[in-house]
């Protein structure tokens, strides 16, 4: 009970929960309303009510009154429906933007009751239930809706055809949440959902937004569905454009902009199609609608190279998204993500964005203090995509002096921000010019990056490895900075990670460190790694890890004769592991393995003999040498790598060359090479001729 001094809250949570149990419907209703008013907009209150078990209590009221309302068929009692409306609203608020709440509502079994209430006779009950279900479907925790079952599809269509705004919105949210596979996309398309969705694009604000999101889900990576959509004639758009044209004939002096007209000019050949209704929404007065329309168009563009390719619309999308970035709220936060998906991997769009000052705009955002984590993450990712290919973008970024802000983001509380800061730095550190100048190899950057190798989040670790891989490709002698900071130890630790992506990326970084490193550096890394660990990585269950391990050893043995000795350490376990692995490998792994052997075969007599033994190890048992299979590969890069090994083994001025040539001939390898004199790949052809010339120096006895 409230005391004289405390009037907030009027009723404490415990008191309110007791009132919910009251047999008097009036008291119940009041308690429900009060809970609703306390929790709406108030996360802390939601949490405290949640902990007291409010959700199951309200869910049970909903279910018992829902059953009552079913039996009353016509003219349900006013208080019955009010109680249902209020309890649905309470459950909906618990589920609104609050995952713990969604889980509680689902666990309390309220979901099927809310679905059942959609067919209630009272409009208000239907509206409140649909709204709450919509909240639930906005969370990823919502149960997946199985479209492919016929009954479910019928139900979904009935939702979308409803007169009630919240019910159609619910239908669209279900699609957005649950449409993931191309089978589901096709099923929705075949059921005629697209046509209905187009008409909803002309509905209310919330309908428009929900529909745009659902369309993006149906379009995603599905050119077939998109072409069906574009093929649908948008009758309403054509009609309205005609009527506007008529009226504009009557009043030529009109200054009112003919929107549809300009849209038609804008889309060109796609005019009149359903696409134009989405394009029109990019000019909507609500920022959220504009953003979602852009998102839809980006999804279409990315999936179908046939649509929206002209310069006008590209420039328009870049411009609109950069403008939306200025929105201080959620829309501005999300705009960067849509922008990223627009420019990711597309050089032409990155160039266009660059010309539109995109780098400056994103960097300006970074200079603001206390950015919302979501916005910071988006801005960093957008910069990462912008700078992924074009040096001009990277140089502009560096000239704007925001590198420190990105480095600060490496230690942000939020793991997603740390990850995106790394991804951004990875793009920036691709700048060869700055790498050569040793610009990135300084403690300010290296120390926080090395710390991230210990990060609890795997995706942060992987992203940090991505940057390190770049900065250690340092053409000067500054690799020591990284070693002094303890980087190598950390990287070697990560090659033992449970996660194959971490092992892969750690090896990648070490491989790059090994590239053209001096003897001391190589020795330091090898001592840390050890031959036996490398041997086990070469035999890793994941081919991508094998490839990186082999490439690392390839860089290790590249250079002076002394470094070749590394593969013979520990009784040659390393070389044996390479040989074993090459018996049955994919092309990518084979290429690295063969270059590795080629590098070893460039050494002294002992080295060459050891490689030869690896090549012939199985041939001794009468089986074909694996080299023959590699020489017959359809991948010319692999053929080149394999021929190189033979070139190095048969170099004529070496004393054992003749003996090796005889052995290779006996194993059928030389005749395989002779068959390749007219190889389609010029590189292969040239090396094959080198082998033949070298064998000729020993006379004809071989043929």
């Amino acid at each position: 009970m409230p005391t004289a001094n405390t009037i907030f809250p009027i009723h404490g949570p415990v008191d309110l929960l007791t009132r919910l149990d009251s047999p008097d419907p009036e008291t119940k209703l009041k308690a429900l309303r009060e809970i609703k008013n306390q929790i709406i907009g108030n996360r802390t209150k939601k949490l405290s009510f949640l902990k007291l078990g409010a959700v199951p209590a309200v869910a049970s009221i909903l279910s018992s009154y829902a059953t009552q309302s079913d039996s009353q068929l016509v003219d349900a009692d006013v208080s019955t429906s009010s109680i249902i409306v209020q309890s649905a609203a309470v459950l909906g608020s618990f589920a609104c933007g609050f995952d713990a709440g969604v889980r509680a509502v689902l666990d309390a079994g309220a979901f099927p009751h809310l679905i059942r209430l959609l067919s209630n006779l009272d409009e208000k009950v239907v509206d409140a239930s649909a709204r709450s279900l919509r909240m639930i479907y906005q969370s990823r925790l919502a149960p997946k809706y199985e479209f492919v079952q016929e009954k479910n599809m019928e139900f979904l269509i009935s939702l979308i055809n409803s007169e009630c705004e919240n019910v159609t919105g619910l239908g669209a949210s279900i699609i957005t949440h649950s449409c993931q596979t191309s089978t589901e996309q096709r099923a929705l398309c075949d059921a005629g959902i697209l046509k209905k969705l187009i008409s909803l694009l002309e509905g209310s604000l919330s309908q428009k937004n929900a529909t745009l999101e659902s369309l993006a889900a149906v379009f995603k990576k599905n050119p077939e569905v998109i072409s069906k959509f574009v093929g649908l004639e948008n009758e309403r758009a054509v009609e309205s454009s005609l009527s506007q044209r008529d009226s504009s004939l009557e009043s030529p002096g009109t200054v009112i902009k003919n929107n549809t007209e300009s849209v038609f000019k804008f889309v060109g050949p796609e005019s009149g199609s359903a696409l134009s209704s989405i394009i029109e929404l990019t000019k909507d007065r609500y920022a959220r609608t504009r953003l979602l329309a852009c998102m839809c168009l980006v999804v279409i563009r990315n999936a179908s190279p046939n649509y929206l390719q002209d310069m006008g619309i590209k420039a328009k999308l870049v411009y609109l998204l950069l403008e939306l970035l200025d929105d201080p709220g959620q829309v501005g936060d999300e705009a960067s993500f849509v922008f990223s998906s627009l420019v990711a991997g597309k050089k032409d769009l990155q160039q266009l964005a660059f010309e539109n000052n995109a780098i400056n705009k994103f960097c300006n955002q970074l200079q603001k203090s206390q950015l919302h984590p979501k916005r910071l993450q988006g801005v960093l990712l957008a910069l990462a995509d912008l700078c992924s290919k074009l040096e001009s973008c990277r140089l502009t970024f560096l000239s704007l002096k925001v590198l420190n802000q990105v480095i600060d983001a490496l230690t942000h509380d939020c793991a997603d921000v740390r990850t995106s800061a790394c991804i951004c730095l990875r793009s920036i550190t691709r700048s060869i010019k700055n790498l050569c100048a040793g610009y990135f190899m300084n403690e300010m950057l290296v120390i926080p990056l090395i710390r991230l190798l210990d990060d609890p989040s795997v995706s942060v670790q992987v992203a940090a490895l991505g940057v390190i891989s770049n900065i250690v490709v340092d053409f000067t002698t500054r690799k020591s900075t990284f070693i002094q900071c303890g980087g190598v130890k950390q990287l070697v630790q990560l090659t033992k990670s449970m996660h194959s992506t971490v092992r892969f990326n750690a090896l990648w970084a070490l491989k790059n460190m090994m590239f053209l490193a001096d003897d001391r550096c190589k020795e330091g890394i090898f001592l840390e790694l050890t031959g036996s660990l490398l041997a086990s990585l070469i035999s890793d269950p994941e081919p991508c890890v094998q490839e990186q391990a082999l490439a690392l050893v390839r860089n290790l043995v590249d250079g002076c004769i002394k470094s070749i000795e590394y593969v013979f350490a520990e009784d040659g376990t390393l070389l044996d592991a390479v040989g074993r692995q090459l018996h049955n490998v994919s092309d990518e792994v084979g290429i690295q393995g063969m270059y590795l052997l080629g590098n070893v075969a460039s050494g002294n007599e002992l080295h060459k003999e050891a490689v030869l033994q690896q090549l012939l190890s199985q041939a001794d048992n009468g089986a074909q040498s694996f080299v023959i299979k590699l020489l017959q590969s359809s991948d010319s890069r692999l053929r080149t790598a394999a021929v190189w090994v033979i070139v190095n083994l048969t170099f004529p001025s070496c004393p054992g060359a003749f003996g090796r040539l005889v052995q290779l001939k006996n194993a059928g390898i030389i005749s395989q090479i002779r068959n390749m004199v007219n190889d389609s790949c010029l590189d292969v052809k040239l090396r094959v001729r080198t082998v033949i010339t070298q064998s000729m120096t020993f006379g004809d006895g071989l043929t």
């Binding site: 907009g41 996360r43 609104c96």
Partner: protein
């Protein structure tokens, strides 16, 4: 043809349009009565003149609009204007529980207004408790609210609030600001624009006249309330 001639023979001389000619042209512009009625209804509904809207709807036979929501919206607005913020919050939640659940800034501003009202009424202890329990967590969720919260709590530090640097918060204009923010949010949730269309049409008319002034002399509409066409002075 005439226009072309004037361009060639005298770029400086403006085309003269007589009253007869102008009125004839105006008469040629056909505007549907339904559209006019819609414009008027739009104005009455957006501005919340429920009684007038009801009468107008009846007399003009304009498309039916559910005026109950307008009444509800005006009640919310009025509650904030009178300082009954809690009442306003309950009304908004009855109208559409989504509005305050998805609009943290608006929710914060309403809570802030509640705090202001407590301070205005000299309920210092309650104000402190409210700030601590209700507003502080919002500031933690979004740092941009902290500054405004600090400013509001600062009201408690002054003996004479009317003369303190944050005294403007107690001004009636603060209530009006909050009220219009709620009003706009409700309108948006109903897919309506927060401003009626009529004033923008008038703005467009003035803009068009200003542009036309550079090219022609014509019967100008100077007084918008009488809509009288004034003869061109040649």
């Amino acid at each position: 043809m005439k226009c072309v001639e004037s361009c060639i023979y005298g770029a400086m001389s403006k085309k003269v349009i007589t009253r007869e000619e102008w009125e004839r042209k105006l008469n040629d512009v056909r505007i549907r009565k339904e559209d006019m009625n819609k414009l008027v209804m739009n104005f009455l509904v957006t501005e919340g003149y429920v009684d007038a809207a009801e009468k107008f709807q009846m007399e003009s036979g304009a498309e039916h609009i559910d005026l109950a929501t307008v009444t509800d919206r005006m009640a919310v607005k009025k509650a904030v204007q009178c300082g009954n913020v809690e009442d306003a919050i309950e009304k908004v939640n009855d109208l559409n529980p989504e509005i305050l659940d998805t609009n943290p800034q608006l929710f914060f501003h309403l809570q802030q207004q509640r705090l202001i009202e407590l301070i205005r009424n000299g309920k210092v202890n309650e104000a402190l408790q409210f700030a601590q329990e209700e507003l502080a967590p919002r500031g933690e969720e979004d740092h941009s609210f902290l500054e405004e919260l600090e400013r509001t709590v600062a009201l408690l530090a002054f003996e004479d609030v009317s003369n303190c640097p944050v005294g403007d918060l107690l001004d009636i204009s603060q209530r009006l600001k909050t009220a219009s923010e709620v009003n706009a949010a409700i309108l948006t949730s109903q897919s309506l624009e927060k401003d009626p269309k009529l004033p923008s049409l008038l703005k467009m008319l003035l803009w068009a006249q200003n542009h036309l002034d550079e090219k022609a002399v014509y019967p100008r509409m100077n007084n918008l309330s009488t809509a009288m066409l004034e003869d061109p002075s040649v």
